[in-house]
């Protein structure tokens, strides 16, 4: 113990650290310690947490358009405690915004911005702007769909700045479009420039705070006290509460609904797939919503955006900065209180409005659902296949599960349906005029086809020119004589032709049944082969080939050209020849076929 004391003395005589420690711990707290004084300390704590977690994240993050998302995925899903580290960084950033607002409210309410503390108030306001800058730059770094498209909106707005807009935008995003240099620039700002400035300003802020002393809330409740230990205890307890809140948000998606632990990570950014659920982080939502305010657009026309995004926010910010001077006026303090109140209430109302609008938009909800599905799927693919050098977005672009529904919605859903929707879960305006292709080629599909009640329903031939064709007439008349066993046999045999991944086991198990079905199908009772070709060359066939019906090769064939004599030939209804008419490339048709067959 003595040695430690001696070492401390040695250090003190060379640095003066005792005096420094004493000064920082025994700062006078007029009116005694109070909970309302904790905000500054919680902010310092939150910033410290960001520095610590940020530096560790830095060690695993790779800022480029083919590695940003990928490295964040790796931190989140593969590295020890990565979800916790990212979670702390992500949610502490959000906590900081809340704490900043609370700190500002406390400063304004207590009149702590008044002379001689004007400069310190400016420092605080600058710190607020810097932290918002950190949020904005940090939001892009994971390079997921959400961050990519939301930040793109922010930097596009920058381009409407008068005179220098387009140049400013190019400089900020490091080129004419988003890419490697957008990330390197944003990252340098986020991890270097902005935190450096924050540190400088915090030092200045604390120095000036100590120089002028604490602005006591009046009336003083208790006699003056030292900072240590009473106020320190309140401060650390408040910090602990902040940390607890952060941890709560890290685990809450798991606790209530089985989501991922930690911060969300969307699907990798894809410049070819716009993301209609892109929204800024929640604390910028009011600005986002403000641009949609009608009177703004009515009043200023196409200048509305400039006014709403740049001029009005600048004026409001200017008023906030001017608070110390406005405060000198007799009613100034009340004006400031009113101003802050109006800003906070409007921001809250706009935020609520933005959230409520989104919750009532089916496109938004479908987009969010799609985004969740894509982010889950890409993680699954990255884990099982590894990510190619070209980036994780390639995994999604070549994945039937993700691309199939999109291709279906675009090319097939104007006539066909998939489980009643357009493949992506949205309703379609045009009336359904071709089969619902969910479960195409499966036993359920085959059974429904042979059902006299369903064959001419809108989910099968009802909307097509085959609605009163030979097949429908056959099913309604002749097929009603089939015994249930015979129906079962045909169903199993026909579905076996598809070789669906989901039926591998069932087909193996029911080999006898399938064989019986094949024999029956060619019999004079079933009469399938009177029109269809089935497992034997048949030059006279007039209806689609049932050999390999629903298999990958069969599906690719019919999508490529339904007018081919193997399928509908000249009797084809309205279906385009997607390959022969050069509507889709071979890869897209394969993706569609694989998806319809449930092939992952």
């Amino acid at each position: 113990m003595k040695k430690v004391a001696a070492l401390y003395d040695w250090l003190d005589s060379r640095t003066g650290c005792k005096k420094l420690l004493h000064e920082s711990l025994y700062e006078n707290v007029p009116g005694g310690s109070r909970w309302r004084y904790v905000w500054g300390s919680t902010l310092t704590f939150a910033f410290m947490v960001q520095v610590i977690t940020g530096i560790f994240l830095w060690m695993a993050y790779a800022p480029s358009s083919q590695t940003a998302w990928e490295s964040v995925y790796y931190i989140q899903h593969e590295m020890w405690g990565g979800w916790l580290l990212r979670g702390i960084h992500h949610f502490t950033a959000q906590a900081m915004t809340v704490l900043l607002v609370l700190h500002l409210m406390q400063v304004v309410v207590d009149g702590a911005y008044k002379a001689p503390r004007e400069i310190n108030f400016f420092f605080g306001m600058l710190l607020l702007l810097l932290v918002l800058g950190l949020s904005l730059t940090g939001y892009l770094l994971p390079w997921d769909q959400k961050g990519y498209w939301a930040t793109k909106v922010a930097t596009n707005i920058m381009a409407i700045t008068p005179f220098v807009g387009p140049e400013l935008q190019k400089i900020v995003i490091g080129g004419t479009d988003y890419g490697h240099h957008t990330l390197t620039r944003f990252f340098a700002l986020h991890a270097g420039v902005l935190p450096g400035l924050v540190i400088l300003l915090i030092v200045g802020h604390v120095y000036l705070f100590r120089k002028h002393g604490l602005t006591a809330a009046q009336p003083k409740a208790k006699p003056d006290c030292a900072f240590w230990p009473d106020q320190v205890l309140k401060d650390v307890v408040a910090c602990l509460a902040v940390l607890a809140a952060v941890i709560f948000f890290i685990v809450q998606r798991r606790l209530f609904g089985g989501g991922d632990l930690g911060a969300p990570l969307g699907a990798p950014a894809d410049p070819s797939e716009s993301f209609s659920a892109a929204r800024p982080e929640w604390y910028f939502l009011f600005l986002f919503q403000f641009l949609k305010v009608e009177w703004l657009i009515k009043l200023f026309g196409h200048q509305g955006e400039l006014v709403g995004a740049i001029i009005i926010p600048s004026v409001v910010l200017g008023l906030l900065f001017a608070m110390p001077f406005i405060g000198k006026w007799k009613l100034g303090h009340r004006f400031n209180l009113g101003l802050l109140g109006i800003i906070l209430i409007s921001a809250t109302l706009l935020t609520v409005q933005a959230v409520r609008e989104d919750l009532h938009k089916p496109e938004y909800l479908a987009s969010v659902k799609q985004a969740e599905q894509e982010s889950k799927r890409v993680v699954e693919l990255a884990r099982t296949r590894g990510i190619p050098i070209t980036g994780a977005v390639e995994l999604l672009r070549t994945d039937p599960v993700i691309q199939g529904p999109k291709l279906f919605a675009k090319n097939c859903a104007s006539c066909h349906r998939y489980e009643g929707h357009n493949g992506l879960g949205l309703a379609v305006n045009d009336a359904q005029s071709a089969p619902d292709l969910k479960g195409f080629g499966s036993r359920e599909w085959a059974a429904a086809f042979l059902d006299p009640k369903r064959i001419a329903s809108s989910n099968f031939f009802g909307g097509t020119k085959f609605a009163d064709g030979k097949m429908v007439r056959f099913v309604r008349k002749d097929a009603t004589n089939f015994t249930p066993e015979q129906v079962q046999q045909i169903t199993a045999a026909l579905a076996a032709e598809a070789q669906l991944p989901a039926l591998v086991e069932a087909d193996k198990r029911d080999a006898v049944l399938i064989d019986a079905g094949r024999t029956f199908m060619t019999s004079d009772t079933a009469r399938c082969t009177e029109c269809h070709q089935f497992r034997k060359k048949d030059e006279d066939a007039t209806a689609p080939d049932l050999t390999g019906y629903g298999s990958r090769e069969w599906l690719i064939g019919i999508i490529s050209n339904p007018k081919h004599e193997r399928f509908y030939g000249k009797r084809n209804d309205r279906m385009p020849a997607f390959s022969d008419d050069k509507i889709l490339d071979a890869r897209s048709i394969e993706l569609l076929a694989d998806w319809l067959r449930g092939q992952p």
Partner: protein, 184 residues
Amino acid sequence: MENSQCEHCPCPDRRGFLKKLACHVIGGIITLVPFAAGLAVWLDPARRKSQTGGQLVRVATLNALPDDGVPRKFAVLASRVDAWNKSPETAVGAVYLRREKGGQPRAFNVVCPHAGCFVDFMDARNCYLCPCHNSTFALDGKINDAKSPSPRGLDELQVEVKNDGEVWVKFQNFRAGTTEKIPA
């Protein structure tokens, strides 16, 4: 100053001690949590295992390897997982292959066992030379210089000739600086 403050404060010693203790404990916890999360991620690489653990890789064909006894260098291409990336055919290292008339090819990892530089085969001196610290090795990979800083000869790798003249090498890196050949 500390005492003068305490005169105003209704804080008996024991309560004051508990408060200070609480400050230290809570302060410790809130600093430790973010730091520990970072430390875990930072230590993650320690649990990763080497991937080049004796993977059999096709390196050349006998036709590309004359039987004149002169070593030739070949790149070793193999599938590789680098953090998040999985690449099918990436350079993971290089080997010297050498074959004498009618003999089986022999393979040496080009990495010098001293400090990990790549050795060069010097035609004129008929030996391998490490450009970093001048270790030299004979054609059979053994140290041929008493003053050689390398603790062992070049690391020989297992070779298989199969599928009608394809030369496959069990590619592996070894720890540098030790007299024994320990897989890295």
